[in-house]
């Protein structure tokens, strides 16, 4: 679905007048204006790579914050042009930093927050507030407001049913604008904060925006891995509802591994796992650690020891419930055409040695690549079970929409159990 623009040209107002203006817009004495009683979504939308690509003339504007194909292609090209490691995902901080050192003065219209993806607009949010930091940290605060509604042919009525608010400017200016946020997020509606950037790029701001009971949507693939996992674990421990898009993308790995052990005759082998190897793209191990932690938690393993190896892999020793040892290793592997999401899993190997039965070796392999590394290593005497795991290609906006659509006010219990363990593994 193509993104939708707001129905009216956004009105630029001084920040202090925004709450009053919106209150008037939805006031009860204007009976035709009935706001959707749904939810509010606050988005941190830096789009650093997109801004840099536009500035350096490598991408045509406008700047929208939406992950379009031209943006991804330009990002990939920049990895090559910038002489970055070929495994660098195209929309990461490394690419933005590299682009930032290049010349360019191109400008373009900035439609962040006004360009609403249909996956989100179909949910009829009552209020979308976008914080759009500019490359120029000196840029003053601009505040835009517009009424917004899905088009009638998509099931919307003719009256405005929501509004968008955009706060745009340099980071210091945005910090000033935060004062208007609280009155814009009515308590009676669920409020979500989607941090669509690296988790470590503005920790204090993240702390300010995503206070409980607001529900947090983040991507633990973005940012320094240790920071990402610690943040995830601490937020969950504090009782906040955390939705991790990186965890969501693990769905097909969870399903495929569970499927292997669905037949009852294989289940006993789960109590006899001796080795778990997970390969991830590039040098971001978070997704691999989350998957490994999920397996460890489900099978009741107890962590004994963890260490980072010279080859950047992370290895850990666990004790099974019967006291036997399990070795786990999460290893980075270089990829020629990496996913846009850092650290996606490319393969998993699970070796079980049940008593009085031949050992079992389960190899799961992402459909995007091969698993030759995991297939090597003397498994000829084992029962080999191999499965290909489908790669999820849904745009990030669709993933966010899934979280918003079936909203929960608590963290998925599986993630809540896996994240603290994953944080320990990397510490």
């Amino acid at each position: 679905m193509s993104p939708q623009l707001t129905l009216q040209t956004p009105l630029e107002l001084p920040p202090s007048e925004v709450p009053g203006y919106l209150e008037q817009l939805w006031s009860r004495d204007q009976p035709n204006n009935v706001g959707a009683h749904t939810f509010c979504l606050l988005i941190w939308q830096p789009a650093w790579v997109e801004q840099q690509l536009v500035r350096t003339g490598r991408l045509d504007g406008p700047i929208t914050g939406v992950q379009r194909s031209q943006l991804i292609a330009a990002g990939r090209q920049s990895v090559v042009d910038g002489d970055l490691p070929i495994s660098t995902p195209p929309l990461t901080e490394a690419v933005a930093t590299c682009l930032g050192q290049m010349d360019g003065g191109h400008t373009s219209e900035d439609l962040r927050g006004q360009h609403v993806d249909a996956a989100l607009s179909n949910l009829r949010p009552r209020r979308l507030i976008t914080l759009a930091p500019s490359l120029d940290s000196e840029q003053p605060l601009e505040t835009l407001v517009a009424a917004y509604c899905p088009l009638p042919e998509e099931g919307g009525g003719t009256v405005a049913c929501g509004d968008v608010v955009v706060l745009r400017g340099g980071k210091p200016a945005l910090q000033e604008g935060l004062a208007i946020l609280d009155p814009l997020l009515p308590e009676e509606l669920p409020a979500w904060v989607w941090w669509n950037g690296a988790l470590d790029e503005a920790p204090e701001l993240l702390q300010q925006l995503a206070s409980s009971p607001r529900r947090l949507i983040l991507d633990s693939a973005l940012g320094e891995p240790g920071f990402c996992l610690n943040l995830l674990a601490s937020r969950i421990e504090a009782g906040q509802a955390v939705n991790d898009l990186n965890w969501l993308r693990l769905g097909s790995w969870h399903q495929t591994l569970a499927m292997v052990f669905d037949p009852p005759h294989r289940r006993d082998a789960l109590g006899h796992v001796v080795q778990l190897d997970i390969d991830v793209e590039g040098d971001h191990p978070v997704q691999g650690l989350l998957l490994g932690s999920w397996i460890a938690d489900r099978l009741g393993w107890e962590l004994q020891h963890t260490q980072r190896n010279p080859d950047q892999s992370i290895s850990a020793n666990f004790k099974r419930t019967d006291g036997a040892d399990v070795q786990m290793r999460v290893s980075p592997v270089p990829m020629g055409q990496p996913s846009i999401h850092p650290g996606q899993i490319v393969g998993l190997r699970l070796i079980c040695k049940p008593d009085n039965q031949p050992p079992i070796c389960v190899i799961l392999c992402a459909e995007s690549g091969g698993c030759m590394r995991l297939e090597a290593g003397g498994m000829a005497s084992m029962e080999l079970i191999e499965e290909v795991v489908p790669v999820q290609h849904s745009p990030v906006e669709a993933d966010v929409s899934r979280q918003l659509e079936g909203g929960h006010d608590s963290t998925n219990p599986l993630l809540a159990a896996a994240a603290p363990l994953a944080a320990k593994l990397i510490s």
């Binding site: 005759h265 909203g407 929960h408």
Partner: protein, 503 residues
Amino acid sequence: MTNPLRVGLRQERVIAPQCLVIFGASGDLTHRKLVPALFELFRQRRLPSEFALLGCARRPWSDEEFRQKMAEAMETSVNENRAAWEQFSAGMFYEPVDLQQPEDLVKLGHRLDEIDRTRATRSNRTFYLSVSPKFYGSGCRSLADAGLLKDPQRSRVVIEKPFGRDYGSAQNLNRVVQSCGQENQIFRIDHYLGKETVQNIMVLRFANTIFEPIWNRNYISSVQITAAETVGVEERAGYYETSGALRDMVQNHLTQMLAITAMETPGRFDPEAIRSEKAKVLQAARLADENEPWNCCIRGQYGPGGTQDSPLPGYRQEHGVDANSTTETYVAMKLFIDNWRWQGVPFYVRTGKRLPKRLSEVVLTFREAPVHLFDAAGGGPTANQLVLRIQPDEGAEFRFEVKSPGSGMRSRPVEMEFSYDESFGEPSDEGYVRLLADAMLGDPTLFTRSDEVEAAWRLYTPLLELIEDSPWQLPIHPYESRTWGPAASDALLARDGLLWRRP
């Protein structure tokens, strides 16, 4: 041992925030099936936090009384999951509503607005009519008049079976219901379609290349569809006396199994494409002898049976049943489908109460090999059979001939089995869990469309008219409880040189 990696793992579509309104909330179905199904969805985290259940009936209960009644009815499950129940029941409310009273509907509208505000249910509403069938039409009309169905994207109505009593009444009801909302807002429930194994018939046929090329008259000689129950009429005599097996089982559940077994391949996996194919095949179906239906339909009624130690009463001795009742508790019939795929292939359908086993299955019998090269253990080679077991012991088996060990070339039949239990090891969700979730998701694939319902009623119109006008032409054959129905039913197949499969 459950699969520890499967626990908490669901690859389900997401149900949007909403309020489910059950009319008839004081009734049996609500506490026996609907609320347990919703609680199960809640425990599986398939309900959003912004979810509310509003029970409506005429009794003047409070929210707390409603919660209490449901908790009492589901005692075991509630006690095992006390914390989850507390959370779930906090979203349960009750509003006394008489669907015939417009002022009650106004009150209901206000209550729903309040729930939208307090539970952020986003004006998404699913209305479940678990009321007497005679109120289906007027119930929909009341909802429409109160403006509660005006947004086709956000409001839906679920209607329980039976949808009409015959072709004419089904048409009338469809007219009323469709005047209240769009077809895509109407969800006519048939809980057989919620069964994993019924849905699996579609997957088996359309996800594998080996079946579809032989799924036709060139290779299949006959099809048997059986739904057997061991129970008698139990507490449902009042309803059953007015419906009988034909209306209670054949017109809906068995006909849906027939449609899914015989339908053409839909162009895509899309609710309307699937429902169109089902409607088309039902429109092409007919009784084997429409002019003299007694030649292709057998009605039966269970008599006393059982053992000396545990005798079973006959139908006419059951509580609430007329001592001279001519209601059928067993039906067997032969149908044809007049299309290119099935022309000339008989479909035998049977259902009955108080039969020896509880089971539902579809049996496809393939044509015999044209030339018998080998001696067979049973005289002649046995025809290949594909048995799709709907319940219990869900799965499928394929019977084919192999060489008997030893010298010589004698063949004997063996079976290749697939069992849900062995492959997946997890019990499937109860049908209502799936169907309630689908209704709240707005996915009508497993619900019957108006043209399907009408085609199903039209198919049995000659029988219904005959039963109405000259019932002596379609007599009731008594059969002993816990036997496989009347001898006349066996004779129906014997005329074609066939036997019912004895499971």
